[in-house]
């Protein structure tokens, strides 16, 4: 599904503040695989995710999705495969727009944004039904601005928005970092359910080792821009929480 071949990323090359964020990472992510990436701050995991999303281009190396070379394809053109949940709930939704408007954009992610009005009664019904599955009571607030909701509610809705259109890859960039433990749990459970229900290929970056242990069927440890450990589903299952803590000691 996703083939990352020897990618490097150097920020500010040749300057005093040069940073070698990613140093030759190669990785093959299979269809429907749920990959968890852990690593210390500054280890290069978010840069790697940004390169998969297309918001940052690699200095060298290549990335293919579904056998198509997307290395130089900008983020907005990768949206036909990729949906993304950002660390900050504000980044993943438009605060001033209503929940309904946000969902409308998500529903036409892979389609042209034309000069017709797409929000009709049928669409409203469809959105309400989808939101009701969260059990948060938000289905009666679809005309409210997204900015009036809590971070947890917004992240849960962002997850639902990601499956409104034909999404194949879901990128989760520390989606619970800004949330309280209860909201974080709801968001992670929702993400896990959607990934399974929609048979998505997913990449989760997290600092929460409990989540890293609980979710996903493959885990990698990134340090200084390189993959230090890579455990497949079988080896991940054999991993204890203490082993995982041991990676960071």
């Amino acid at each position: 599904m996703i083939q990352i071949s020897n990618i490097h990323k150097v920020f500010n090359p040749g300057k005093a503040n040069q940073v070698n964020a990613v140093n030759g990472i190669s990785l093959q992510i299979k269809k429907e695989e749920f990959l968890v990436i852990v690593g210390a701050n500054g280890s290069g995991k978010t840069t790697m995710l940004d390169m998969v999303a297309g918001s940052v281009f690699p200095t060298s190396g290549s990335i293919t999705i579904d056998s198509e070379n997307v290395t130089k394809l900008p983020d907005y053109r990768r949206s036909k495969w990729i949906a993304r949940v950002f660390q900050n709930p504000v980044s993943g939704t438009a605060s001033d727009l209503s929940i309904l408007d946000n969902f409308r954009l998500a529903a036409i992610r892979t389609k042209p944004k034309g000069l017709s009005i797409g929000i009709n009664d049928e669409f409203k019904k469809q959105v309400k039904e989808k939101i009701a599955t969260l059990g948060m009571g938000l289905e009666n607030k679809i005309d409210q601005p997204m900015g009036t909701l809590s971070g947890g509610q917004r992240q849960a809705l962002t997850l639902l928005m990601s499956v409104m259109d034909n999404c194949k890859v879901l990128l989760l960039d520390e989606p619970t970092a800004a949330l309280d433990p209860r909201s974080a749990e709801v968001v992670m459970r929702t993400a896990d359910k959607l990934i399974k229900d929609y048979k998505l290929t997913a990449i989760l970056i997290t600092h929460n080792l409990k989540d890293a242990f609980t979710y996903g069927n493959r885990i990698i440890l990134v340090s200084e821009g390189q993959i230090i450990k890579d455990l497949d589903a079988e080896n991940k299952q054999a991993l204890s929480q203490n082993d995982l803590f041991g990676w960071f000691s």
Partner: protein
């Protein structure tokens, strides 16, 4: 009374400019100073085409295209050359001064004896009433078009671009192209105000656009204050309040002159008025 009717007409003529500023400042979150130049550009194109006896149905699209091109240029400089939006607008505005002067060939062009829009269309025998109905028609059509646009899928994407760029890019929108389109639309509207004002006042002057951005900003800030007070989320109501803001702004200036304030102090009064509108809600919340 005619004095206030003139202010009302001015306010209606400035509605398109206010809607333009609303699009650039509130929807795209871009402080666009191109306004001063594109407003004059609209008036200059109108004046030159009228003096060359071009028909009205050609003048109007020409004005819209000219304003749109000016805005698109600011957008291209900002997005493709990665120049700060404020600086991009200042550069285009500065360049437009020479462009406008070159097109017009003189610093002032009277339109009194020419068949302007207000001479051609006769709805009322009273010239002021006639102007009122024509300009009102314009404002209604523009508001309806912009309101419809903002409700479409494209319009929702426009509104999201200024709100959360990372989100809208991940949803498949080329934000550079969207900003260029938005600035083109904003300045096309601004040029339309120049088109209306020049024909209403009967002349085009090269310096008529200096500081005009403040009139637009003031109108939008009045609207924004009302939007926040009444917690309005409707796109249609927001647009109507922007137009109300443009009229209120001109009315305040008219009252200022009516109570005997020196006309030379009008720009100072304008600046203080805008400052008051901006700061009053903050003073209230700071308690």
């Amino acid at each position: 009374m005619d004095f206030y009717l003139t202010a009302l007409l001015q306010g209606l003529c400035f509605s398109a400019l206010a809607l333009g500023i609303f699009i650039s400042m509130k929807i795209f979150n871009i402080p666009d100073i191109t306004t001063d130049g594109s407003y004059t550009l609209g008036a200059v194109v109108t004046a030159v085409m009228l003096t060359h006896h071009q028909p009205t149905y050609i003048i109007l699209p020409a004005v819209i295209i000219a304003g749109g091109l000016a805005g698109a240029l600011t957008g291209i400089i900002h997005t493709k050359l990665k120049i700060n939006a404020l600086l991009a607008g200042i550069l285009v505005m500065t360049a437009l001064w020479s462009v406008n002067l070159t097109i017009m060939g003189t610093s002032n062009l009277p339109l009194n004896s020419l068949p302007t829009l207000f001479n051609l269309v006769h709805i009322s025998a009273d010239p002021n009433h006639n102007t009122f109905w024509i300009v009102s028609g314009f404002v209604i059509i523009i508001t309806a078009l912009i309101g419809y646009l903002l409700k479409t899928d494209f319009g929702i994407a426009m509104r999201a671009t200024g709100n959360s760029e990372s989100m809208i890019r991940s949803l498949g929108v080329n934000t550079d192209r969207m900003k260029i389109t938005g600035l083109a639309l904003a300045n096309a509207l601004t040029a339309l105000s120049g088109y209306l004002i020049s024909q209403n006042q009967g002349f085009t002057d090269i310096s008529m656009g200096i500081g005009i951005v403040i009139a637009g900003l003031g109108s939008v800030i009045i609207a924004e204050t009302l939007i926040n007070w009444f917690r309005i989320t409707s796109v249609w109501l927001s647009l109507i309040l922007v137009i109300a803001g443009a009229i209120i702004f001109q009315m305040v200036l008219a009252i200022t002159l009516d109570i005997g304030v020196d006309a030379n102090l009008l720009k100072l009064v304008t600046a203080v008025f805008v400052l008051l509108i901006v700061s009053l809600p903050r003073i209230k919340f700071a308690k």
